[in-house]
């Protein structure tokens, strides 16, 4: 059953985020993906996350698709104008990639090409409207397409970042109106803090996919707690990892417990981000 079918039927979906390489040696990237094939519904391939230049999402998705894996392509507003974005979407659909996630893209000054000129011709919501328009058989200019792409569209939601829950719900409603079919949250380390947001969702049909970030060290946990103001990092969790005899193993256990908790709480799925420790994914997933 495909990712889209499972999502539509309300079955729990598991996504894993795999960074493509900076270069053309794709052996590790493909190898990591193959080891979790069967344990995940789709592999999310980021498009130059953190504005670091590397092999792109479309290429990464194709590499994995050729090995029989389902993927989620990221479409990023930072580097492409509306012509290029639409062209990539058509290319993706024609090559069999039907899951996309619209992202704004981190600003170039955060990455490794800080002299780059950002594009941002469209924003994330405008891009989602374009994806919806393409599905009607017309491009942004209203010109008829020879075959319309039909995507399952994901978006990000930045819970806890704005001033009030009402503002965040308004932002969420706009993304729903623009065609978002599921939402990936920021990293979650405390399910209660996420529940504090979700209890306000009311009768909105929102498929939320919390992000589980693998904790690789105590320093990483502290940095998240200190710098990501909208991500709640419980002190007890930092202490737990710090006091563990095997901190790497403890980080994996934390991720496993979060995944179980997310399942038990009835969320639509989970997205696991190993952040460079892709070789630990099979262990996290019990693959």
């Amino acid at each position: 059953m495909s990712f889209a079918q499972k999502l539509a039927q309300g079955r729990f979906v598991t996504l894993a985020e795999l960074e493509p390489p900076k270069g053309v040696d794709v052996a590790a990237f493909v190898g990591h993906a193959q080891r979790i094939k069967g344990s995940v519904d789709a592999v999310v391939v980021p498009e130059m996350a953190n504005a670091v230049m590397k092999l792109g999402s479309l290429g990464g998705c194709m590499l994995l698709a050729n090995k029989g894996m389902e993927t989620v392509m990221q479409v990023c507003c930072r580097d492409r104008n509306r012509l290029a974005l639409q062209a990539d979407l058509l290319s993706a659909a024609a090559l069999g990639i039907t899951n996309v996630m619209a992202v704004e893209g981190d600003a170039p000054n955060l990455g490794d090409h800080h002299k780059a000129r950002p594009v941002y011709d469209l924003d994330e919501l405008e891009l989602m409207q374009v994806i919806a328009k393409l599905a009607t058989g017309k491009d942004m200019a209203g010109v008829e397409l020879e075959g319309a792409p039909n995507f399952t569209v994901g978006a990000t939601i930045n819970t806890g970042a704005m001033g009030t829950v009402q503002q965040e719900l308004a932002a969420l409603d706009k993304k729903l109106a623009a065609g978002a079919q599921y939402f990936v949250t920021p990293p979650v380390f405390d399910l209660d803090s996420l529940a504090a947001f979700t209890k306000h969702l009311g009768d909105r049909e929102v498929k939320l996919i919390p992000n589980v970030l693998l904790l690789k060290s105590v320093g990483m946990a502290r940095a998240i707690g200190r710098h990501l103001k909208h991500v709640h990092m419980p002190d007890e969790l930092i202490e737990r990892v710090k006091g563990a005899p095997d901190r790497v193993r403890e980080g994996i256990l934390v991720a496993q417990e979060l995944i179980e908790g997310i399942k038990a709480a009835g969320y639509s799925g989970v997205m696991i981000s190993p952040l460079g420790w892709e070789d630990r994914l099979p262990q996290i997933l019990g693959a």
Partner: protein, 222 residues
């Protein structure tokens, strides 16, 4: 106003090297207000150049002038008698003024003495902040008077993006998230329903997408 930064002296010296008659030309408008290219700054730059030539043991003449507006042909043409005796002009007006000077004086090189940066205003003495990118289709009526095109790092029209955290932008904790400002102001104006509406996809053809722009006011153009 148009806000500019003075170029490093070494860079200007490198450009005027070899010339013996140099005119530093200021402008009485924006660059005077942002304290980079008015009469006072022309005097400072000219003095610095004179000192440099003196230290090098080079005999050079460095003149000073400040036009009413370098972005207005009338004033640029009117400076002919002042400009033409010089071998090179260092314009400390904005990029517009520098080009208008260059277009008028075919035989005299005109080089910039400032880096033109943005359209903005003075927050306080010595502090200027960007407010407009001249996109050609003003959205301020819908965004509570705060411009997402000039003040959001990603020009997001349906914000905030995922990089906004507690009112600050991901590019720097010193930069306000424009969309947080918009939402806060819409909220205080009792107009949050404006925020709930998806902004139509922006037509950038009135921005640079349509190429260099002109404005012609028919009733006054000859």
């Amino acid at each position: 106003m148009i806000v500019a930064n003075g170029k490093p002296l070494e860079e200007i010296i490198g450009v005027v090297k070899g010339h013996r008659k140099i005119l530093v030309a200021g402008c009485n408008e924006c660059v005077t207000v942002c304290e980079v290219g008015g009469t006072k700054e022309v005097g400072i730059l000219a003095s610095a150049l004179r000192l440099h030539f003196l230290n090098q043991g080079v005999e050079a003449q460095v003149g000073e002038t400040t036009l009413q507006r370098q972005c207005d042909r009338e004033y640029v043409v009117g400076a002919r008698v002042t400009v033409e005796p010089y071998e090179i002009v260092v314009s400390v007006a904005c990029g517009v003024g520098c080009q208008f000077m260059a277009e008028e004086y075919n035989k005299v090189p005109v080089v910039p003495g400032v880096d033109t940066s943005f359209m903005g205003g003075a927050l306080e003495r010595g502090v200027w902040s960007e407010r407009c990118q001249g996109c050609g289709t003003c959205l301020l009526a819908k965004t509570a008077g705060i411009c997402p095109v000039s003040r959001c790092a990603k020009r997001v029209l349906n914000g905030p993006c995922g990089g906004s955290t507690k009112g600050k932008c991901e590019i720097s904790k010193d930069v306000d998230c424009a969309w947080q400002l918009i939402v806060d102001r819409l909220s205080s104006l009792g107009r949050m329903e404006d925020y709930e509406v998806l902004t139509p996809i922006k037509d950038w053809s009135t921005d640079r997408a349509g190429g260099p722009r002109m404005r012609i006011k028919e009733e006054v153009a000859s």
